[in-house]
């Protein structure tokens, strides 16, 4: 049974977006798998936020999860 997730992309990463923000993925899909599907290079990613908290790329996504992917930022 597919896992229903929402993906939000920060700033310039929006160009990698899927046809819809909410998508179904196979069970066992990790955040890393989503990054590959979207074709986002590793160097274009800094912070991964899963349901409002910092997450690792190895985390497996569950039904209803919301993942936000941010690019590196500098300065401040």
């Amino acid at each position: 049974m597919a896992v229903h997730i929402t993906v939000t992309l920060g700033g310039p990463l929006k160009k990698y977006r899927l046809a819809a923000d909410t998508v179904d993925v196979p069970p066992g899909t990790t955040i890393s798998g989503i990054l590959s599907t979207l074709g986002i290079p590793a160097e274009s990613v800094s912070l991964l936020v899963l349901n409002g908290s910092k997450a690792l790329a190895t985390e497996v996504l569950k039904d209803g999860d919301h993942i936000t992917i941010y690019p590196p930022v500098c300065g401040g």
């Binding site: 920060g10 700033g11 310039p12 990463l13 929006k14 986002i40 290079p41 160097e43 274009s44 800094s46 912070l47 936020v49 409002g52 908290s53 910092k54 936000t68 941010y70 690019p71 590196p72 930022v73 500098c74 300065g75 401040g76």
Partner: protein
């Protein structure tokens, strides 16, 4: 020397004397320009223990070899003086279009000395330099001053100005340009006010020679495509610094209620999406392909921003979730000529003093009506403003609350909670001008990256590397939003100047700049006792958000600091040894 005009303009205001001298070539080899060269000049020219608001302090404006060239993101001007807020070295940078204009007028730097007898402004039009009376400008807001001078001298003129806060010598007074750009921190505007200088108008018609123009053109275009207009930098264009609100909230480092918490319920009203919805235009500085500036509007009032620091310190840190209110607070501070980082901190500190019953300032977290009265009260020292104008450190000395007076060496905290980014704590403690995020920003690697934010291990080296990187970048002078490598920097610098720059050489220059700044502070009596943080960071645990349960234990901080001194080759009191000074040719 290619990339330079080889000329310093010196204006002695007390004696109405204007002179020109050759730029010190030996120092440019060691310090390049901008921040580094300006600090070197001030170190050599200022007597120790000079009163920062006396005519003996100097106000120095420095460009760098990139200024005015086609090198992208090079539109910044370094402004250097001894700080009235901290009594440390103070160098600020300001964006917009003023720096290249100064270079086109024929100068690498301007040094103001003494004090004008009457309120004045300086007009620099190529070789013509005049000190003119500013009677009609004195007392006016920065925006009105800029408009009046643009109408008088034409819209091609570029202007630096101060507002009432600078005239009134406040320790949080800034210098403005292009209406909404600021050299913000440490009271640099008060130094200008103390010299009775309301504005500097610059018109330049010259040019700048690069050593290898054909190759520079080709190289810059290549880097624009491959290194600048990339996912790594374009966040500055698409969202601007407001993007950091979401990142800071998710990682629990968004200052809230005077750093009582690291997360804010109303953050979605202040984030990039909210600012984007209020956006009416975009803007970039001279030679910038990123254009990070966002114009937002409230009614018929417009501001450029609010930037992250303002959203955090004047928003969540004051418990304000209404973006309109933050925009208006931002606009007031800009026009009055006041740093929003310090103004936000002072307001939040006064709110907590009131909340805890230590002193009733009539201010309450989240109360927009009283919050919006604060900037003008501070700028004119009106009512409670007479005391708020002292800054957080002095307020705490008067009313208590030192544990939660969020400052280092008298400079209020930027918008990153060190309990969620321990390296940031070390960065604040060791920055040359007090709590500052522009000397090193380990937040990107810790809270927003892969390095564990909650360990002391490796943080000294991380902070040192970042301090050297920023010091050399701000000496060339480049904006921090281009995350270029030192390889790239060396390649461009070699093409502009004709000198051979290497990564190792640039790293040494960064180290030299940090050490000369430290020597300046050391001469003023600063040492290890001053490299510390407020008690709240050590003793209080955050209770909500991603950093709930976290503090920065004092022993861990002391370990980072000891590591830092050891790696730097400083002694246990944090003093630069004679051997280190000699190694670096200081």
């Amino acid at each position: 020397m290619n990339g330079y005009q080889n000329c310093v303009l010196r204006v002695n205001l007390s004696e109405n004397r204007i002179s020109r001298e050759e730029l010190n070539a030996e120092w440019t080899a060691n310090y390049i320009g901008g921040k580094g060269l300006g600090i070197k000049y001030l170190y050599e020219e200022l007597q120790p223990n000079t009163d920062s608001l006396s005519p003996d302090n100097k106000l120095m404006f420095f460009t760098g070899p990139f200024t005015g060239t086609i090198v992208p993101c090079s539109g910044k001007l370094a402004i250097i003086a001894k700080s009235p807020a901290t009594n440390t070295i103070l160098d600020c940078s300001i964006g917009g279009h003023i720096a290249p204009e100064l270079k086109y007028a024929g100068y690498d730097a301007v040094i103001l000395e003494g004090r004008a007898n009457v309120p004045s402004y300086i007009l620099i039009h190529d070789k013509s330099v005049e000190i003119l009376p500013a009677n009609e400008l004195w007392g006016q807001g920065s925006h009105a001053v800029e408009t009046a001078l643009l109408e008088k001298y034409g819209h091609s003129a570029k202007i630096l100005s101060i507002g009432p806060a600078g005239e009134n010598l406040l320790p949080m007074a800034c210098i403005n340009s292009d209406y909404y750009r600021q050299a913000g921190r440490g009271g640099i505007g008060a130094v200008m006010g103390s010299k009775n200088i309301k504005a500097v108008v610059i018109k330049g018609s010259g040019d700048i020679k690069a050593a290898n123009m054909p190759e520079l053109l080709e190289t810059v275009h290549r880097f624009m495509r491959e290194d600048l207009l990339t996912d790594t930098n374009l966040w500055a264009h698409t969202d601007g610094t407001a993007m950091i609100v979401d990142l800071a909230q998710a990682t629990g480092i968004l200052p809230t209620h005077n750093f009582q918490s690291g997360s804010f319920d109303g953050y979605q009203s202040l984030n990039a999406e909210a600012v984007g919805a209020a956006r009416v235009g975009k803007k970039g500085c001279f030679s910038c392909a990123l254009g990070c500036g966002n114009f937002t509007r409230k009614g018929n009032r417009q501001v450029e921003g609010p930037e992250y620091e303002t959203l955090a310190l004047c928003g969540s840190n004051c418990g304000i979730s209404e973006l309109d209110a933050v925009i208006e607070f931002n606009r007031l501070c800009d026009d009055l000529g006041m740093d929003t980082i310090s103004a936000g901190n002072i307001t939040a500190f006064a709110m907590e003093l009131t909340e805890k019953g230590l002193k009733d300032f009539g201010l309450k977290f989240g109360d927009v009506e009283t919050y919006l009265t604060v900037p003008a009260k501070i700028a004119y020292r009106d009512g409670i403003g007479a005391e708020l104008a002292l800054g957080v450190k002095e307020l705490a000395a008067r009313y208590g609350g030192g544990e939660f007076a969020m400052e280092v060496k008298g400079l209020e905290f930027p918008g990153y909670e060190p309990r969620g980014s321990w390296g940031m704590g070390l960065a604040y403690a060791t920055s040359d001008r007090g709590a500052c995020h522009m000397r090193s920003w380990p937040v990107a690697s810790e809270a927003f990256g892969d390095i564990d934010p909650f360990t002391a291990d490796g943080k000294a080296q991380l902070v040192i590397d970042l301090q050297h990187y920023n010091a050399v970048k701000f000496s060339t002078i480049l904006c921090d939003f281009w995350a270029l490598s030192l390889d790239t920097l060396a390649e461009i610098l070699s093409l502009v100047t004709g000198r051979e720059f290497t990564v190792a050489g640039l790293e040494e220059t960064g180290e030299r700049v940090v050490n000369i700044a430290r020597l300046f502070n050391q001469r003023e009596g600063f040492d290890r006792k001053d490299d510390t943080l407020p008690g709240r960071i050590f003793n209080e645990y955050i209770t909500t958000g991603a950093t709930a349960g976290k503090n920065l234990p004092r022993p861990e901080f002391e370990k980072m600091l000891a590591d830092y001194y050891t790696i730097r080759g400083w002694d246990k009191d944090g003093k630069v040894s004679e051997a280190k000074a000699s190694d670096l040719s200081l």
